[in-house]
Amino acid sequence: MSLRSLAPRADFPLLAANPGLHYLDSAATSQKPKAMLDALRHFYETANANPHRGAYALSALATDAYHDARATIARFVGVADADCLIFTRGTTESMNLVSSSWGGAHVGPGDEIVVSALEHHANFVTWQQLALRTGATLRIVELTPTQTIDLDMLRDVVSARTKIVAITHVSNAVGSITPLQEVVRIVRSRSAAVIVVDGAQAVPHLAVNFDALDIDFYAFSGHKLLGPMGIGVLVGRRALLEAMPPYQFGGDMIEWVRDTDSTWNVLPHKFEAGTPNAADAVALAAAVRYLQELGMDKVRAHEVALLEAAEASVRALPGVTVYGPPPAQRSGVLSFSLADVHPHDLATILDQHGVCIRAGHHCAQPLMRRLGVSATARASFYVYSDGSDVDALVGALAAAQQLFATVG
């Protein structure tokens, strides 16, 4: 098929160097544009010093670069109060921060924490363990037959006992997009719970506006949206963040250290102990600007077009099961299985055709149990994906089926 990529492949050094590669694992991590890599290098070559420390011009340069990166990323996700955007190592650390700090201070025996069966382990185990630690109860909202969150069950489960509702914006395993407005309406009408949203698979693919969502915490990772590995974000409401105890202790996060106690720095620094990851923040801001130039509406439309084409071709193969709702209600994820070929075998065979897909439980074992499978195959698309990727995927799937059909 002739669908062109939205972003030129020449902008992505790894893809440019490997023209035969069909990278269909962007839900795991995205490829990196030269603009982002250049920004990373430029920071180290021109502004490298420890932010917030030195009383010299170079340190001020680093501080400014870090500050500007935060402002750029905050605007991108609709956060007017940029100091409420905390840099973390990624979504996983963001969730651990909320669980440990807010959860540790507010959750106890008799309380309930609500998650869905769709969650990535980072947004499931975190709350499961908080419940075990505090004597609270973990309630799991089950799914509809097309793996979206069952809103009727959510309505039944959320009550005055609910302290936290932790839910994904987009499923990493099957791509379902959660109707967050509905979720928020239900939760707000029945409880005073804080709403924590896992945006790891949403921010790369959809226009997100935190301030308009009426939620309490939102987390995402940089490396899935063209940024470097090792940096992510937690956004929170100012009143909550200010009342929360620190998550880690050390340099930068303190205001005053006395022999017997200490006081804490203001936001965002209270939650950023140690030397900040300024270089990766600057690089992530460059990735964000790259996406803004493409336009998030166009990113979304491009992925839906690819997904519809891929799904139609894959469904035409014999013995295929596709998981999740229809393409228009999914991010760029095609999660499927073939009747006769285990996903792990499929991934190995596809790799020999230069097609990189993920095979496994996608860090979503609760979901896999409900699907009745140990694993699925997942192809995921992004701005550099094009029609040739879809053709290669479908051709290699047919080859795998042929290989498994011709012997035994």
Binding site: H342, Q365, S374, D391, A399, Q402, V407, G408
Partner: protein, 155 residues
């Protein structure tokens, strides 16, 4: 119209008929009632799991069987394993598991030395096809690890 891509030689070598026929019709996939010992392993990568049961007479493996679901590599490996260790002493069966492990991860490969090709029972020959695919070594070893656990009590 779907164009079927050609299959590469190394893939064809790994998924040779022998391996796939074990996958299609695995030997000894059944339950041993009241086994002398059993071991269970999960592959954390893909969520596959396998349980190996053995029936011992003295220290000889009189019967061995497995249950569980897995990919073609782990299923075929389990099937071949049950054929290969039947009638072996515990020590011999554990040594065979170690030999399969070494076949997949030859010592000294990183140092550039080519280790001698160790003898394996002929019926395990299809497993050699897995060696060039490091991402699948865990699949091939899964049943052998469960066997080792059953026979030694150690993971």
């Amino acid at each position: 119209m779907t164009t079927v891509a050609p299959v590469s030689a190394s893939i064809a070598a790994m998924y040779q008929d022998a391996l796939l026929s074990h996958h299609r019709a695995p030997h000894n996939r059944r339950v041993i009632e009241a086994p002398s010992a059993s071991g269970a392993r999960k592959n954390p990568v893909c969520g596959d799991e396998i349980t190996v049961m053995v029936s011992l007479v003295g220290d000889v493996v009189q019967d061995v069987a497995f249950t569980g679901r897995g990919c073609s590599i782990s299923t075929a490996s389990a099937s071949m394993m049950t054929d290969a260790v039947q009638g072996l002493a515990i020590g011999e069966a554990v040594a065979l598991a170690d030999a399969v492990d070494r076949m997949l991860h030859p010592a000294g490969r990183s140092a550039g030395a080519q280790s001698a090709v160790e003898a394996l029972p002929e019926l395990l020959t299809p497993l050699r096809g897995v060696a060039p695919f490091p991402g699948r070594h865990g699949c091939a070893m899964l049943p052998w690890q469960a066997l080792r656990e059953a026979l030694t009590g150690k993971r």
